[in-house]
Amino acid sequence: MTKRISTEDAPHEKRENLWLLIVSPTIWAVHFLFSYITAAVWCAKVGSPGGSLQPVRWAIAIYTVIALIGITFNGLSGLRRHNFGTESLPHDFDTPGDRHRFLGFATVLLAGLSAVATLFAAAVVFYFFDCR
């Protein structure tokens, strides 16, 4: 086997950002915490056990929309990097281009998972109407 040499012009490592990989899961975590804290504080401080959860449901719905917008942006940026150049999966070449595509692909997958997990959490607004 002989090595093949790539001359593809991909971004240098210094222009790559590892943190972009975990933007979407972080958004999920913030959405989750905000939803939990809002419900906990509301039920402990404002609402009574049988009292309405309406404001909390709206709050969670708004958090969800904001979170999904953020995750979508992160996912699209990942998709752009995944589609960089002409090579396709599995992104396993020792080249800056495949590193760039791989990080993009992993970002897309994590964005997808985070979106699903965020929607799972948001589903509580359809099932809970009071603080019981």
Binding site: M1, T2, K3, R4, I5, S6, T7, E13, E16, L18, L21, I22, P25, T26, W28, A29, F32, S35, Y36, A39, A40, V41, C43, A44, K45, P49, L53, V56, L89, P90, H91, D92, F93, D94, T95, P96, D98, R99, R101, F102, L103, F105, A106, L109, L110, L113, S114, V116, A117, F120, A121, A123, V124, Y127, F128, C131, R132
Partner: protein, 848 residues
């Protein structure tokens, strides 16, 4: 398929060095990496050696935990049994759970990783070998201390989760203190290992091993180690609160004085649930290495497995309340955690599909490691499915605290961790001493383990559904539990026979057995480079990597590495060295000198352990003396072996590459270690702040109407002084850089005075306003936040003084400024901690 590389990548030397030169290089490397002999052997710090000790001790604790399990099963074999008294039974199941979790599952992940990570990364060693040795000695000491308590009828009795008030008001004696202090100590070791593993994975890869080419094991270990940083600190914080309540009557969990036992459950499970994944991910990581080897093809869905590892790492932090479904939280809260618990099944399932796809797409060769892999996956899937069941709050209300949960957790942990680890044992063993384990014994043991395991735990689902509660020492006849329990007990002994066979296979004499051939399984990853038996140097020369499976894809790799045609083929100065590379593309940036054997890490561990052990018996004076000795030892350690100024600025790494021997700031590995350590410390602090707001949320009387402090003046003054000290430390770093020594000393001197005054002012807040930490939880929480911040300032002062001494002694200069960079980083965290602590204790009562 042939690998594709970048046009900048160097090739190995076209011609081998002369045989004489190769021999001389090998001799120098051998000498530099030689293990000490005689009793000094125990001063070794090479990760591979320490990792083997670590794994062996963890395995001994596993056997000990197993014996306790058999005692539990004997007691439950028949109704009304009196083999163990109720009190003894409580001790046995508490120590069984604690040992298996804290002394086996977590340490074994770290110990396996410190053995194999350097080898998978083609590194001579990980960047902080003495830190790993320190962690090992902490673990041994803490483990013996806790396990030994059982022999003196003094073991903890509260279950491995130690819920108060069962472990506070209702449990006199030292058992619970042993648990709280002993495990806090061991958690220090776990965080030390996490630092080593994270920095190792990000900074010590071979050139060319870009982030898309890292062995999957390393991804998993990176994620699990990062999880340790955020999961363990809440437990350390919780243990501190509970110990303060037990030792000094600070009422964090005492409802009569405003406390709340539920806070413990939050802090414990904020650790406890991610911990399950901290155990599971590195174990499944072994499977991710084994499957491609025996399927004879690259893994299918590498990117998807990275998704699984990272995604599970995140989601596992949103599950903790599913252990608390029956504590009366509002339904909407339970549902959020139930949703996350269902969501985590997605990434967990994804990786299993990837393994199955790899097996299906490849040509599977039958082998013992593969047998354990498949057995483990099948078992884990059953545990995962019952996990999805108990993740539903409504089902959990029925199953909670019954044997159904016992069955579920054992399917998860034994399927997801023990089977993969035994698979790894059979797979990796040739790398330990050059000999293979026996295929025959491995197969026999497997069938004992597999049938024994299922005979033990499958019936428990039914025992639980029929209503048998956990943690009861006996049960009456005729409730439908009798035959099922007897079957579980018989199964447990069959399982034990399997464990015994594996243990025998490991320890049986192998002198007459021939050495294994090199790379016996024909694997593709770098850990299989070494000759059998392997040398201490880790890798003969550090290769340039072009592929995820370099041994399959890179022609002549083994020959070129062996002949020293790659990087660092020599140890000209007789020093231990490895390459440091950049985190994303693994471009070489530095040659890192590593410290050699020393008893200092062991001494630091023993003296630090002394603090915790003596504290258990409330011998606080002796404990503080031990702590001071530990501090002195650690300072000596830092002074003599860290940030050493090299005799020359740079040296050749081979292949025409010249690299610096010293880097400071974000380029140095020490800076990363400080950052990672402080993230963990900061997480513990956030847990304490969480406690403050938890009390505020749940309790009407927080702060109580009678609260008199801490007021605004003292906390604000303290914060201002500490922020001033932080700014002066930053200025001092700049002055050092431009070699303005007078200003450097002046700024740091004023900073030290300011820090001490700031710490005093913070403590003056609760003190001058008469807050009594034993009166109400509000007073206790304010005191604790103030003390925590003040202690940071005091540690910061020690660091500032250390930097002044380093410069005065000529060990730190304008160019060689690792120390002051790392101290400044510490002070960034002091500044954030101060702002949050002062803002909370002084500002929040005003908001209310």
């Amino acid at each position: 398929m042939s690998p594709v590389t970048h046009h900048d990548d160097p090739d190995p030397l076209p011609h081998a060095p002369t045989p004489e030169l190769q021999r001389a290089q090998e001799e120098r490397l051998r000498e530099a990496w030689r293990s000490p002999s005689g009793w000094r052997y125990w001063s070794d710090v090479n990760n591979t050696i320490v990792g083997i000790w670590y794994t062996a001790v963890a395995f001994l604790f596993f056997l000990f935990g197993g014996v306790l399990a058999l005692m539990i099963r004997l007691q439950l074999a028949v109704p009304g049994n009196d083999f163990l008294s109720a009190d003894r039974y409580n001790q046995v199941f508490t120590v069984h759970g604690s040992v298996m979790m804290f002394l086996f599952a977590i340490p074994v992940f770290e110990s396996i990783a410190v053995i194999f990570l350097p080898q998978m990364l083609g590194a001579r060693d990980l960047p902080f070998p003495r830190l790993s040795a320190f962690g090992f000695w902490c673990f041994v000491l803490g483990g013996i201390f806790l396990s030994g308590s059982l022999l003196f009828d003094a073991a903890p009795r509260g279950g491995w989760f130690m819920y108060p008030p069962l472990t506070s008001t209702y449990q006199p004696g030292v058992g619970a203190d042993m648990w709280l202090l002993g495990f806090s100590f061991i958690e220090v070791a776990a965080i030390a290992a996490a630092v080593e593993l994270i920095v190792g994975t990000l900074k010590c890869r071979p050139p060319g091993m870009r982030i898309n080419l890292i062995p999957l094991y390393c991804w998993y270990v990176l994620v699990a180690a990062a999880m340790v940083l955020f999961a363990f600190p809440p437990l350390i914080a919780g243990s501190m609160l509970l110990e303060l309540e037990r030792a000094f009557q600070w009422p964090f969990f005492d409802p009569a004085r405003g406390g709340d036992p539920l806070l413990w459950q939050h802090l414990f499970w904020l650790f406890g649930h991610p911990e399950v994944y901290i155990i599971f991910l590195p174990s499944i990581a072994i499977i991710a290495m084994i499957v491609p080897t025996f399927a004879r093809r690259p893994i299918v869905g590498y990117g998807w497995i990275v998704l699984a590892a990272v995604g599970t790492g995140f989601l596992s932090f949103g599950l903790w309340v599913h252990h608390m479904f029956t504590t009366g939280l509002p339904g909407v809260s339970l549902a959020l955690f139930s949703a996350a618990s269902e969501a985590v099944a997605i990434p967990t399932g994804v990786q299993i599909f990837c393994f199955v796809a790899t097996i299906a797409a490849g040509r599977l060769t039958h082998s013992v490691p593969m047998l354990y892999t498949l057995g483990g996956l099948a078992t884990f899937i059953i545990g995962g499915l019952t996990g999805v069941m108990v993740a539903l709050a409504s089902f959990d209300f029925q199953a909670h605290d019954t044997f159904f949960v016992v069955a579920h957790l054992h399917y998860v942990l034994i399927g997801g961790s023990v089977f993969p680890i035994i698979a790894g044992c059979y797979y990796f063993f040739p790398l330990i001493n050059g000999k293979k384990l026996s295929d025959k014994l491995g197969k026999i043991a497997f069938w004992f383990l597999f049938t024994g395991f299922n005979a033990t735990f499958l019936p428990m689902h039914l025992t639980g559904l029929r209503g048998m509660p956990r943690r009861v020492f006996t049960y009456p006849e005729g409730l439908g539990f009798d035959a099922l329990n007897l079957l579980s007990t018989v199964g447990a002994f069959v399982l034990a026979i399997g464990v015994g066979i594996v243990a025998w296979d490991i320890v049986r004499p192998k002198k007459k057995q021939p050495l294994s051939e090199r790379n016996p399984w024909n694997a593709g990853t770098l850990e299989w480079l070494p000759r059998m038996p392997q040398e201490n140097w880790g890798v003969r020369s550090i290769p340039e990597i072009d592929s995820r499976y370099p041994l399959w894809d890179q022609p002549n790799l083994v020959r070129d590495v062996d002949q020293g045609r790659f990087y660092l083929p020599d140890a000209e100065e007789g020093k231990r060295e490895t390459l440091v590379t950049s985190p994303i593309d693994a471009e070489p940036v530095q040659i890192l000198r590593l410290p050699g054997p020393s008893f200092v890490p062991a001494l630091a561990a023993i003296t630090l352990g002394g603090f915790f052990i003596l504290g258990t018996f409330y011998l606080w004076k002796a404990a503080v003396v031990s702590l001071v000795i530990a501090l002195g030892t650690i300072l000596h350690w830092l002074w003599t072996t860290t940030a050493v100024i090299p005799e020359k600025a740079e040296k050749s790494a081979g292949l025409g590459l010249t690299l610096p021997l010293y880097s400071s700031g974000a380029k140095s590995v020490g800076w990363w270690a400080m950052l990672i350590t402080m993230l963990a410390v900061f997480t513990a602090f956030v847990s304490l702040v969480f406690a403050y707001f938890f009390y505020w949320t749940i309790h009407e009387d927080f702060p109580p109407a009678s609260a008199t402090g801490p007021g605004v003046f003292w906390p604000a003054l303290g914060a201002a002084l500490l922020l001033g000290a932080w700014a002066l430390t930053l200025l001092a770093r700049r002055c050092n850089r431009v070699d303005n020594a007078p200003a450097f000393y002046a700024f740091l001197t004023v900073a030290i005075v300011g820090s001490l005054a700031g710490a005093a002012a913070l403590l003056a807040g609760p003190w001058r306003t008469g807050l009594d930490p034993t009166r109400h939880v509000y007073d206790a929480t304010v005191w604790l936040l103030a003390i925590w911040t003040a202690l940071h300032a005091v540690v910061g002062v020690i660091m500032q003084g250390y930097c002044m001494a380093r410069r005065a002694a000529g060990r730190m200069t304008g160019r060689h400024d690792i120390d002051i960079h790392n101290v400044t980083l510490f002070w960034h965290f002091v500044a954030i901690t101060t702002v949050i602590a002062a803002g909370t204790i002084a500002g929040f009562p005003l908001v209310k």
